[in-house]
């Protein structure tokens, strides 16, 4: 089942912060975050694993609440280059590492 992302869209001024949320109705093994710019491929940002391990981007952080089956992506001191659509992909145990993506959150950073 598709995870739910919120908000659907957010507009920031450069330097502002944003939080993007991802929630699932299923018990998750991991949550993956990707960013896609218009006309380009999704690019990996962050993976959060059950048990607390996370790997990813230097300037972007994320959390994973296993009990609530939720993850949040924190973008601090946003830059113009952060603009794009952010997708969370969720993975459940025994799914052959299948990722199910949310509908995306469109982030626009203005000067």
């Amino acid at each position: 089942q598709q995870p739910v992302q919120s908000p659907q869209a957010v507009i920031l001024r450069e330097g502002e912060d944003a939080v993007i949320n991802c929630s699932s109705s299923k018990a998750l093994y991991s949550v993956h975050w990707y960013r896609q710019k218009h006309g380009e491929a999704p690019v990996f940002l962050m993976i959060l694993l059950k048990g607390g391990e996370q790997k990813g981007h230097e300037k972007i952080s994320a959390s994973f609440n296993e009990k609530k089956q939720q993850s949040s992506l924190y973008l601090t001191a946003s830059q113009l280059s952060y603009s794009g659509t952010y997708f969370c992909g969720t993975e459940i145990s025994g799914s052959n590492y299948k990722l199910t993506f949310g509908k995306g959150t469109l982030l626009t950073v203005n000067p």
Binding site: S30, P42, I47, N96, K98, L99, K103
Partner: protein
Amino acid sequence: DTAVSQTPKYLVTQMGNDKSIKCEQNLGHDTMYWYKQDSKKFLKIMFSYNNKELIINETVPNRFSPKSPDKAHLNLHINSLELGDSAVYFCASSHYQENTQYFGPGTRLTVL
């Protein structure tokens, strides 16, 4: 230097035709995927291969047939193309247990 490449980048064709999209990765990964992204940007997995073996086969019409000749290549053949097949098709690859997926540039398919 290209990690995951796809050909062609654009594909415009008539309804009823058959077409193929090719994907190659030079990352040494053992797992490859096909995704479809529709006009609303919904990214949905179609197939996944691990070491040439099909491991994920979502509810996709039989007109879509993937083939993996080796670990570095994954092709997608589509028969009898329909208007609803118009989308961007992304190939991706990963190490099976690590599952950080690297996407190719996409193939924009337009069916007229």
